[in-house]
Amino acid sequence: MAQLPPGLKASVFADAVKAMQAAVGAEWVFTSDDDVALYRDAYSLFHDEPEERVASAAVAPRSVEEVQAIVRICNARGIPLYPISTGRNLGYGGSAPVYSGSVVLDLKRMNRVLEVNEGNASCLVEPGVSYFDMYKHLQATGSKLWLDVPDPGWGSMIGNALDSGGGYTAAPYRGHFEAQCGIEAVLADGEVLRTGMGAMPGSETWQQYRMGIGPCLDGLFRQSSLGIVTKMGFWLFPQPEAFMSCSVDLFRFADIEPLIDLVNELEYGNIFNGMPSVGSPVMTRGNAMMFQEIPPEAEMDRLVRETGLPAWRFSVSFYGPEKVIRAQWDYVRERFGKAFEGAQFHENQFVKLPLDAAAMEKVAKARFGIPSLEIFAVGSRSPKNPEPSAGHIWFSAVIPRSGKGYVQANRVMRQECARLDIPLFMFSPAVTCWTRSFVLFAAVPVSNDVAANKRLRASVQEVIKVCASHGWGEYRCPPAFQDAAMNSYSFNNNILRRVNERIKDALDPNGILSVGRYGVWPKRLREGRSA
């Protein structure tokens, strides 16, 4: 199963393996087929096809110095190296490389929480630190700080942030790359770079001021192939006194545009800080995970009348002192009451924090920064799902945060999924952890059937094109679609990709790091390709 880097002599590879064994210890260099198979993408859309992206070997360093040693070994020999953090980015490639033959650099053993600063409400961690690890650390040390967690708690704080993952608590913390402050990365030549104030020896502000001086280089490492992030700082959320979730129900199709305009005004004006959502009870009747195609206005209003269900439900939550968040909710009610005839208001949950053990069992854990793996139950074998799939992928396009965009994206995506016969197990309303955009999520089951996967790949490629024709681009995707997604950002003859390639050539002239990640390939692998 293990596959040598294309074009590399077996003797050179064997020599590199020997050198890596000397650098990290023989037990942390994996070369047998069985061991390398553990790095396959468990949710691959190329399962058992020749195109499946498989590693040649894996190596697991314990320190920055060991990472530097490995990078130098690979750079000197032109061996592609693919870093993973905890390797649990399932649905987006998992622990497999994008380019077959790469050596996977498994950073799971670098799992130290280097600092938690209570006064600054920040931390500095290594890439192997999972949300579970950090949560345990905060609990064990009696910290008063909260994490912001994505759905699966076994992910890496660093890896998730680098792939633009998000969570569910208060606005400044939900976008994990946006909540980072300070990066240390090993470059392709083995040099170590620190961004922001980390570039100044003796600085105590690495986790306080992100920019430092000059161009802000943090973005070089997001979804990139330019370096191996070995440390990252994050801002953490001082535990609030209370949490409240509420909702507003509206009953007319035509409410959607003023609804989203008002949501935007209130969120951008910091009237609420929890994650908002705009759903539709009438369009999700029967299956809360499947938002149906939004029908024409008259039809939707008729369905609302017949079922008695709201056309739209704005869900909003607040973190803070009780008297403050109750006042904020009062103001939200006042504004909606004035703007929408017949609006109905619901206070769904109010809890004082911290939660006690009994309360913890009743809440949506991620809203409280508590990591879990509960989300996986949506795909489990169950009475409703007697034959579970082999995995899943996400399709997630950034769409306009407006009523018009919300409705149009829903209709176009539902129609395309129906036309192309794309199986879905979840189709979201437009949601977002980011405060200034919407993302439309569709979850697609993956099988181990080669023909079905071929069809699915072709269909998703088609959807990417259709979305791009409307100006909707994916913010993140599995390796099978990273070229297509990058190519859809095509302004000025794909200058975004071309500039990324120029930077790639300058920083990694031998083209060894994360080859092909998010559609950026080293020179030797893109020659002859048209823009």
Binding site: F376, S380, P386
Partner: protein, 123 residues
Amino acid sequence: MNRIVAIAAAGLMLASAPAWSVEPGKSAPAREQAGKVVFDQWCSACHGPNPRLAGTLALQTKYEGQIPAALEERTDLTPDIVASFVRGGVAWMAPFRKTEISDAELADLGAYLSKTPAQRRRK
């Protein structure tokens, strides 16, 4: 019936070599205690007693209550079966790499889950 198929499949997957190895010199109780730590770290988030958790829900559905859905309540697990699922994965459960659960930790986990609930509770 399902159970027999699962066990047979586990046996086939291990036909070449065991995916776990017992660390020499470690007492059985020490192995089981270490295995409990591995279980709590890596398995309980899906296989704990809560019936809504992914693994417990799946096994409840699969065996329809004929055997316990929570792994720590099972009496029929062996180190081989545990190893085959940890290293082979199933459905949405991706395999665990050796940087996550080492061979020695896998052996401890197998030792822990091979005990019956009554044996575990006596400790």
